[in-house]
Symmetry: C2
Subunit: 160 residues, 2 copies
Amino acid sequence: MATTAEPDLAGSALDAWRSYLQSHAAILRQLDAELVAEHGMTARDYEVLLYLAQAPERRLAMSALAERTMLTRSGITRLVDGLVAHDLIERVSCPEDARISYASLTDAGYEKLRQAGCTHIASIRRLFLAHFSGPEIEQLAMLLARLPGARMGEGSCSVE
Amino acid sequence: MATTAEPDLAGSALDAWRSYLQSHAAILRQLDAELVAEHGMTARDYEVLLYLAQAPERRLAMSALAERTMLTRSGITRLVDGLVAHDLIERVSCPEDARISYASLTDAGYEKLRQAGCTHIASIRRLFLAHFSGPEIEQLAMLLARLPGARMGEGSCSVE
DNA sequence: TGACGCTCGTTGACTCGTCAACTAGACTCA
DNA sequence: TGAGTCTAGTTGACGAGTCAACGAGCGTCA
């Protein structure tokens, strides 16, 4: 119907890209829905609590959180606002540098994280991992690690 | 520091999942930024125009668009509103069923899509495909196709 | 000391997409 | 025919996250 002069994607390349895009949307939506339904918490909330739990003294500067979650600093400010309102996190100012404010996991936040972790990790297994064999997971990990933004070996996915 | 009684993710499983999540965020952000910078259009806009270009008579009912893009019907209404305002799409009512309104690609929309396609596909190649060999792409396509939401063989990624 | 430039976090205004409620039209069945 | 129900699409109110602008604090260098 028209020219195909522009660079085209076809075959496996297209399949890989489409599956990558669409599966991500579907899985994340489902993951979020389950976490919200069972623990009143979004996947982002969970992610933030997890990073804090894994950090030294269970606290991180706002900027550090923003970097890990791939949100902007203003995005993190608002997300943390919500978690503070639910007493899962508290803000702690830094005595050495007054510009810095830490997000610090409360005991309640830690407990909430542990509870939600069961649901969340089970969901990840069911929606993602269960579709592959052990060697396939390794293969997938190896391939996906090459993509921009992929970072590895930064702690566990459950509470330490 | 705490018990690890809850199910845990470790090793390749964690790496695969983390890379999957984080690479997606990074790639999509970059893809969107490039499309916006060069063509004043988001990746979602592009996606909608592409689905229309590939559809019979270059038009689709709103619900069909919603399903393909994994947006809700209200989300699609608003996205299409924007594209209509830019004359890339027009709404056409269905004579057989007055409930249905088609989103129909205009010539301007088609031309815009062709232009943006060059940028977009080049970006996908650079950010995603370039990191793998041919056989690796096939492997990846095969693996990712098993995930929920992944659908394959539904046309090309460029204008037909 | 103090002006300059940088970083950190927050805020206002905005965009994008959701959910729930709604309207309008089509189908079904008595 | 007409009540009940279902589907398609839109709208209002909202939540989440972005960008741009800002205030405050730190470091540097003259």
